[in-house]
């Protein structure tokens, strides 16, 4: 029996879908059998980010309404044979499903997959309630902004009310240069308020915009810093203890100095 994880945030646009795609792809890369579920009915994106949009025949609503079997709605990833996507319906709305149906669906998927990752829509209404139904663990994505942290806090409270305890935090779009200038909240500031376990820090990275638009998750790009951050997150989910990225910008001089042993710790 696998593990179901919901990726949520409250606020929109903080990178839930990108995170879901990258963690899912990262888990598949190390050989886990993974199913991604897009719970953002009516505003589906996960298929686009995964580059699988043109393969959709059936969707999540077709499954819960019994028009097709789960197996026929699942889309196999173009890169990994052990990665699947259950797309959301684009022509329906959030209230087309209820939490009981979602829970049943997730439980069914858990029988077959090591990980079931659910991409939660923004907001705290029906769509959110559907997405968290049947989840064993919640991952909260936030950015270093007061409004995003506030919404994350609200979400943690709602998860607790739904008996989904000990969520883990991913801080997305950290900009080390801004933190150094004192213009951005630090990870410590956010942990201080949210008081939950930190799962990962993902730096703001232009390459992720490129990869998202291309439908190629950044986690597969060996040169990408954010890809490295996601690979670390995947290893932590697997139970490994991986130190957090030191998000100091290292230029060539610094790197060289460290290489010959005069830079000390950066």
């Amino acid at each position: 029996m696998g593990k179901s994880i919901v990726i949520t945030s409250g606020k929109g646009g903080v990178g839930k879908t990108t995170t879901t795609a990258n963690i899912g792809t990262g888990l598949a890369q190390i050989g886990r059998k993974v199913c991604l579920v897009d719970a953002d009915i009516g505003l589906r994106n996960l298929d686009v980010v995964m580059g699988l949009e043109n393969r959709i025949v059936y969707d999540l609503i077709d499954v819960v309404e019994g028009h097709c079997r789960v197996r026929s709605a699942l889309i196999k990833d173009k890169r990994f044979d052990n990665l699947f996507l259950l797309p959301a319906a684009q022509t329906r709305e959030k209230d087309a499903v209820n939490p009981e149906q979602m829970e049943k669906l997730i439980t069914e998927l858990k029988q077959e997959f090591d990980y079931v990752l659910v991409d939660c829509p923004a907001g705290i209404e029906q769509g959110f309630k559907n997405a968290i139904a049947g989840a064993d663990l919640a991952i909260i994505v936030t950015t270093p902004e007061v409004s995003a942290v506030r919404d994350a806090d609200r979400i943690i409270g709602l998860l607790e009310a739904d008996e989904l305890f000990e969520p883990q935090l991913i801080v997305n779009r950290i900009r080390p240069d801004m933190i150094r200038r004192g213009d951005m909240m630090t990870t410590d500031d956010m942990i201080d308020i949210l008081a939950i376990k930190l799962l990962g820090i993902v730096p703001d990275d232009e390459s992720i915009i490129v990869s998202t638009n291309k439908g190629e998750p950044a986690v597969l790009d060996k040169k990408s810093v954010s890809g490295q951050a996601f690979r670390n997150i995947v290893r932590r989910l697997e139970g490994a203890s991986v130190p957090f990225l030191a998000l100091e910008e290292e230029n060539m001089v610094k790197r060289l100095m460290r290489f010959i042993g005069i830079g000390g710790k950066s």
Partner: protein, 206 residues
Amino acid sequence: MSKEACIIKGNKHGLSISIPREMDFAEVLSQLRTRLASAQEFFAGAAVYVSAADRDLEPEEKQQLAKTVEEFGLSITEPEADEAPAPAVESGKDEFKEDTLLLRRTIRSGQKIRYDGNVVVLGDVNPGAEIICSGDILVLGSLRGVAHAGCTGNVNASVFAFRLEPTQLRIANYISRSPDEKLPKPLGPELARVCDNVIQITAYQS
């Protein structure tokens, strides 16, 4: 002149004249006259109470006292018998149960705690959270949300926190908010209560 003297003190009820136990009554009267004459305008119109520590004044003596006081335009008022129990009745007005709710968790944005009694939080109260109760609020952590103590009108209620950085503080019907400019973080526990019709925050010393 003997060490003992007739003492005139002012308090919120008026003037109180204390007569020492072993003093000659004629001396009392003469002293009283001198004192009252020295500040006639100051004493004018005040209510006068006589307290004669352990000394039973003869009716005749009382009359003489009254007469002396009247010479200066004052009169002696008998103390009200039920003066002492009055505060007890007053405090009974702020009726709330002396119950305390203990919360062993972080109170997060969107969560609202309403309680008839005191609230103790073993954790933080985050921005966007609200605690409203009829008694005192104690936060053994950071208070960053909204706190309303004494919500049924108890102005003696207080709010205490290890880190008191609330969005808004309310005690009874007094409201205060944090200033718009950024404040230095509080270094230690602080206590907020109503003083002189405003909510005042002071560093907490046990």
